[in-house]
């Protein structure tokens, strides 16, 4: 299995997919940090401290624990890139027909899917780390320029990082699961984005009490960082959310493995 993961990692890093996704995620993150500071400075944000005027001696930059955590967790919004990373990890093989070689190396197809799941989880976690480091550098520099303290920001890492790394890994696993069922790359991407951007929100509005059960609800619970949306979602605790999210990913992967095992590679 270690050989499988090492092989998968080589496969991924020798294509443009992870680098392009990480690049876009970083750009999105930079914009979010910018927006965060702009909102904060003008008091337009929904942050408790930011709306307070300067004249009362309260700093005009993120300084409360919650503000700093929000800043550090700005990379969270890129969770969809972790999902796509997982989806592409599998569907690329079918798009470029490299799956023939992969199945010759690993004829047992559930094992092939398992290697992908593990690799994608690690890649997702890696993406989270990249986002955190980028936020520390970009957000930290901006904070320091406004007179804030980078050390205060770093101090929030233990509260933010584990949840974010976990959630990104879970999304990547879900991505592999969906990709193993829908091996057509375009179909898989459309379904993933369609669900998370449009359908899930509609479902939560329509079905009372659905919020904690949908993947995003489970992921937010898992993140242990219920920024803003937490109270609306009526969340599970973090390990319940983790198990639910994992269950979604593995259920898809199990169905996908079954489909792939019966599939003729012609």
């Amino acid at each position: 299995m270690i050989a499988g993961v090492r092989s998968e990692w080589l496969k991924m890093r020798t294509t443009a997919v992870p680098w392009v996704l990480a690049g876009i995620a970083l750009i999105v993150n930079a914009l979010l940090i910018l927006v965060y500071f702009v909102n904060h400075g003008t008091g337009g944000g929904n942050n408790n401290g930011g709306s307070e005027p300067n004249t009362f001696g309260i700093p005009n930059y993120p300084h409360t624990t919650q503000q700093l955590r929000n800043l550090l967790g700005s990379g969270f919004e890129s969770y969809l890139f972790a999902l796509l990373l997982g989806t592409l990890c599998l569907t690329t093989e079918f798009r470029h027909k490299t799956v023939t070689t992969s199945f010759l190396v690993t004829p047992r197809r559930p094992r092939f899917v398992a290697s992908k799941l593990l690799t994608a989880a690690l890649l997702g976690a890696g993406l989270a780390v990249i986002m955190l480091v980028a936020t520390l550098i970009g957000g930290g520099a901006t904070l320091a320029a406004q007179g804030g303290s980078i050390t205060d920001l770093i101090r929030q890492l233990p509260a933010v990082a584990p949840g974010m790394i976990l959630v990104f890994a879970l999304f990547a696993i879900l991505g592999v699961g969906v990709g193993s069922v829908l091996t057509n790359q375009v179909a898989a991407i459309v379904v993933c984005l369609g669900w998370f951007i449009i359908l899930e929100g509609i479902l939560v509005q329509l079905v009372h009490g659905a919020a904690p059960w949908v993947p995003t609800g489970a992921a937010i619970a898992a993140s242990n960082l219920t920024r803003g949306r937490g109270s609306d979602f009526g969340l599970f605790n973090w390990w319940q959310g983790t198990l639910l999210m994992l269950a979604y990913g593995l259920a898809f992967a199990a169905v996908g493995s079954l489909i792939l095992t019966r599939r003729d590679i012609t």
């Binding site: 050989a3 499988g4 090492r6 092989s7 080589l10 496969k11 020798t14 294509t15 443009a16 690329t92 470029h96 027909k97 490299t98 023939t100 070689t101 992969s102 199945f103 010759l104 190396v105 690993t106 004829p107 047992r108 019966r262 003729d264 590679i265 012609t266």
Partner: protein, 331 residues
């Protein structure tokens, strides 16, 4: 000699199409077996069933008694070059091989070894998207050789190779057999394989037509010589032939073929009977003819098809000038 590959009563059905039908054959170590048949005769499907890529409807396909998926590290035992296998275009050749080597638990030194073996060392760092068809074929072969397997399965490996490449492939395949490896190589052209194979497995419409040695097939081809004669006096010729113990068949109103006859035999006979001849063609059966007859005959089971296929292919008019200096000649 134990068989390296055993295919027993193998069948595959795709919906309503019986792609492979009750096919049985074996491949032994130290020999090259040609897997021959026209396009669409089920060769690729059979090879893909052997390799576990296509599910089996009935029968078995095994390597030393084990299914591909049950082999411990299959890449170490069986190397395959398949049609329509692709590479990620932006991946470098050596990365493609590394990815397989790592996945199969092989030392990375094998990557350089096999690249050298197929003559791709200089383009190891080039992206596969920039490779020609011939280079891709070689990279496929390098992939197959990574595990130094004792069994090689090659599906139409000559596709896309230039004449030098084909020559190189032949030498390579012969070498593999000479060191005791079993090679199963498919082709829709027997002529392509004539100099390479020891044994032949001929299939048509998913069914086995014949498994034999190339030598035996060649001896069949040798017996298929005939003399094609065009004459305005066909009736008289038939009368003459009926008195002699010889097989013949009429293929056109003014043309017949005498089985196994030679110009040296027929010339004096024609002279003796003062027979007017327009054409006299000595047809030597080639392996390709036998192959075509076997695969077509199997399909139509119509003996006239064998004869009628040839005038069109050889073109009697094109050959007629050659018949002018006939040995024996006309009277």
């Amino acid at each position: 000699m134990p068989s390296a590959i055993e295919v027993q009563t193998l069948s595959k059905r795709f919906g309503n199409v019986q792609a492979v039908d009750n096919l049985s054959f074996e491949v032994v170590a130290g020999r090259v077996t040609g897997f021959l048949g026209p396009n669409g005769s089920g060769k690729t499907t059979t090879l893909r069933m052997l390799l576990g890529l296509v599910s089996i409807t009935g029968g078995t396909a095994t390597f030393g008694g084990k299914r591909y998926a049950d082999l411990d590290h299959p890449i170490h035992h069986v190397g395959a070059v398949l049609e329509a296998t692709s590479f990620h275009p932006s991946r470098r050749a050596e990365d493609h091989l590394k990815m397989v080597a790592i996945g199969a638990g092989l030392p990375l030194s094998r990557v350089d070894d096999t690249l050298a073996q197929v003559g791709l060392s200089e383009v190891a760092r080039r992206r596969v998207g920039k490779f020609s068809l011939g280079m891709r074929q070689r990279l496929q072969l390098a992939t197959a050789l990574l595990g130094d397997p004792e069994i090689l399965i090659l599906d139409e490996p000559a596709n896309g190779l230039d004449p030098q490449g084909i020559q190189w492939l032949r030498t390579f395949i012969r070498h593999q057999a000479s060191i005791g490896h079993a090679v199963l190589v498919s082709s829709h052209l027997l002529s392509e394989m004539e100099e390479t194979v020891d044994d032949v497995v001929i299939v048509s419409h998913g069914r086995l037509v014949l498994q034999t040695t190339l030598a035996e097939l060649a001896s069949r081809a040798g017996t298929r010589t005939g003399l094609r004669i065009r004459t305005p006096e066909l009736g008289r010729l038939v009368g003459i032939l009926q008195a002699i113990p010889v097989g013949y068949r009429q293929v056109a109103p003014d043309m017949l073929v005498i089985d196994g006859a030679t110009p040296e035999w027929f010339g004096p006979l024609a002279a003796q009977h003062q027979l007017v001849l327009y054409e006299l063609i000595h047809e030597k059966g080639s392996l390709e003819d036998v192959f075509l007859q076997l695969t077509h005959g199997f399909d139509a089971a119509d003996p006239t098809l064998m004869g009628s296929g040839q005038p069109g292919a050889n073109g009697p008019t094109a050959l007629s000038p050659r018949t002018a200096p006939m040995p024996g000649g006309t009277a």
